[in-house]
Symmetry: C2
Subunit: 409 residues, 2 copies
């Protein structure tokens, strides 16, 4: 029941020259679904990544960090669903290494040139032999026009595959940016989201790519929350194959940097919003805009206080304009010198609160009308400065409880 989100048509997902994707059914957790993805990268591709800040990060996240630090060319990424390989200690690392070694053997490269990713249940041993057995089938399936099946293969509790493409022109040459992501619960990314992969055929060196990735994450995956839980496996990867034949972007001052960075960020933002639209149990897509702050950090505090509040989220689920809960969340967000008499609260286009209380012009039926919509914008003016931020979240429904009470069964 995703909110205004439909599966992308395969023909709308543009291939990125130099990136081939192959899927297979490894049977990691459930039979009858593709749960393994291999992404092969052409020679010369640059790769940048940001990962979860969770201290119990997964074994594959540890290996990704190690491998990227070695600076060798990445030849393939390997993704499995159904098991997070997190909270698995040394044994988990050994199993992840084993999968990478096997894939490296099949590709004729070194283990450190493979980046592994896992998503699924935490603290259960990765059935690595099943993954190894499925690798040849995934490799045999590899092709550039396979993004739709790949986006489906990385899903867990997602109900809709999430992927989109954009095109731009750099130095007169057409360039493609295509991305996909998965994630529906345990979503409060801190430096990245569950799993997201964005690829372009532009040429960007690793350092510039990492900057581009960080700024895209800051305005996309780091601005969403479903339930406030930062996953153990969050990874957001940006690939630049250079196959479009454009000039190599080496730093932020390069003429092509801004245009490509903007397009990459747009794709990341679209994917991040898609994760919220498909948030576990979501029936509403909520945009929280906070402006007039003394700093972006304090705007974020207020926006996430609203976006995390179970009381606010259940009110959205019920379409109940119980808007005092919004004021309450603003009040406990941690701005100790907030002057509540300067705060203004708007719901959709409706002014709800000012001068420390209800706007005398507010009518319940106006609030009710907005609350019934499937996409709702909450706008808070803090009256303290000119900083602003936006966060996206969803409501908290019975289905969220059902999905997470039954997740392993």
């Amino acid at each position: 029941m995703a909110v205004n989100l439909v599966a992308p048509k395969p023909e709308d997902l543009l291939r990125v020259k130099g990136v081939e994707l192959g899927v297979a059914e490894a049977g990691v957790r459930k039979a009858g679904r593709k749960d393994l993805l291999v992404m092969r990268l052409a020679d010369g591709a640059s790769v940048a990544g940001v990962f979860t800040q969770n201290r119990f990060c997964a074994a594959p996240v540890i290996l990704c960090r190690e491998n990227l630090a070695l600076g060798q060319a990445v030849r393939a990424m390997l993704v499995n669903t159904g098991n997070a390989n997190a909270g698995t200690g040394e044994d988990g690392l050994a199993r992840a290494r084993r999968a990478c070694t096997e894939l490296a053997g099949l590709l004729g490269c070194e283990r450190a040139q493979i980046l592994p990713f896992s998503t699924g249940v935490i603290m259960e041993p990765l059935p690595v032999e099943r993954i190894v057995a499925a690798l040849p089938r995934a490799l045999a399936d590899c092709r550039e026009d396979n993004w739709a099946l790949a986006a489906e293969a990385i899903m867990t509790t997602d109900t809709v595959p999430k992927a989109c493409s954009r095109q731009l022109s750099l130095g007169g040459k057409p360039v493609t940016v295509t991305g996909m992501a998965k994630g529906a619960g345990m979503i409060r990314p801190d430096m990245a989201t569950m799993l997201a992969y964005v690829a372009t055929d532009a040429a960007v060196d690793q350092a510039a790519l990492q900057k581009m990735l960080a700024s895209a994450a800051a305005r996309s995956f780091n601005r969403i929350t479903v339930d406030g839980d930062t996953s153990t496996n969050d990874s957001f990867m940006l690939i630049a194959t250079g196959a479009a034949g454009t000039q190599t972007i080496t730093d932020e001052r390069h003429a092509d940097y801004a245009a490509l960075a903007e397009t990459v960020a747009e794709v990341a933002e679209w994917l991040a919003q898609a994760i919220i639209r498909d948030g576990e149990g979501a029936t509403k897509f909520i945009t929280v805009q906070v402006e007039g702050g003394a700093s972006e950090a304090e705007c974020s505090k207020v926006a996430f206080a609203i976006a995390h509040s179970p009381l606010v989220k259940t009110a959205f689920f019920a379409s109940d304009p119980n808007l005092g809960r919004l004021l309450c969340a603003i009040g406990y967000a941690g701005i100790s010198d907030l002057d509540v008499n300067r705060v203004r609260l708007h719901l959709g286009g409706v002014s709800v609160a000012k001068d420390g209380g209800l706007d005398p012009a507010y009518r319940e039926e106006d609030g009710q009308r907005v609350m019934k919509q499937s996409e709702i914008t909450v706008r808070v003016e803090l009256g303290r400065g000119s900083a602003r931020t936006t966060v996206w979240t969803c409501d908290l429904s019975h289905d969220y409880v059902s999905i997470n009470a039954d997740y392993r069964s």
Copy 2:
């Protein structure tokens, strides 16, 4: 459906000499229930209070702070349910003042000697005329042996009234401590909980009473969470009437201070736990013990990360030992140099995780057995030092969503 919590027997609630309680039906929001309480205090009673840190604190909280700062003897407390009088601006203050003025007139004292309290819906105007009209009936009902009805009159979404009594001996004289509290949702107190009143007939001056209150709050109401929402109206009041004829306790070094402080804290802890047992939709009572921390602050971070996690809470609701969610919450609690290989996790008496992953001796059926219990202790050893803390919370159930989706209807 409170967890192992039953309404106190009226005869178990011991009167506190110098405190009379009277209830009435003012019809603030719903007909047919007592929603107004007056607590009259005898001459010479000391009163201490701690209040919400929410910047959108309620009008009555503002007046309580003002009145206590004036230092005049408190003659009565006035509590209404059904309306929080929060997010109501200047008009809310005027309405709260009007109720206090009226009660002061009836008691022949000054308005500043009345402390008002409200709880209920936020950002709706307080129907103060109905309260004023009911005051004479509440006053006529005032008597010392009325704690049971008083505990019922302050309930909102609570399903069970919460009150208890303890006795001790100070200087050979019997002393009573009786307390009551309300609260079931919007519970993540920050310096106090929704509404709690503890009274003793011991003699304690205001400064010592305030210290006693603060330390009781620190180990009771500040260690619980239902949904992480810090209310606009949290107030925890401690009253000492001196009617028992004991020596006046003037500071922490007084011979009687420690014994009385311990009993007051025990009562506060019992009430705080009762709030969790009656948490909205609660089916499980969860104790989260974190030990081996470098500081109590970092133990608190971990304990509240676990206690706030919707994923952990839905797993408890489902009796599903999906314990990776606990590791995940520990990992994102904000201890940036946490060595996950030193963390140990226990569920009930069962060792779940060590060395960064599952304890090899752990068996799913052991976890399952503990998860089915109605009272569960999670114990985390951080392996960093000797600090520790305990937090109490409940699970997240379908009923939480139902209760909060339907709250105003």
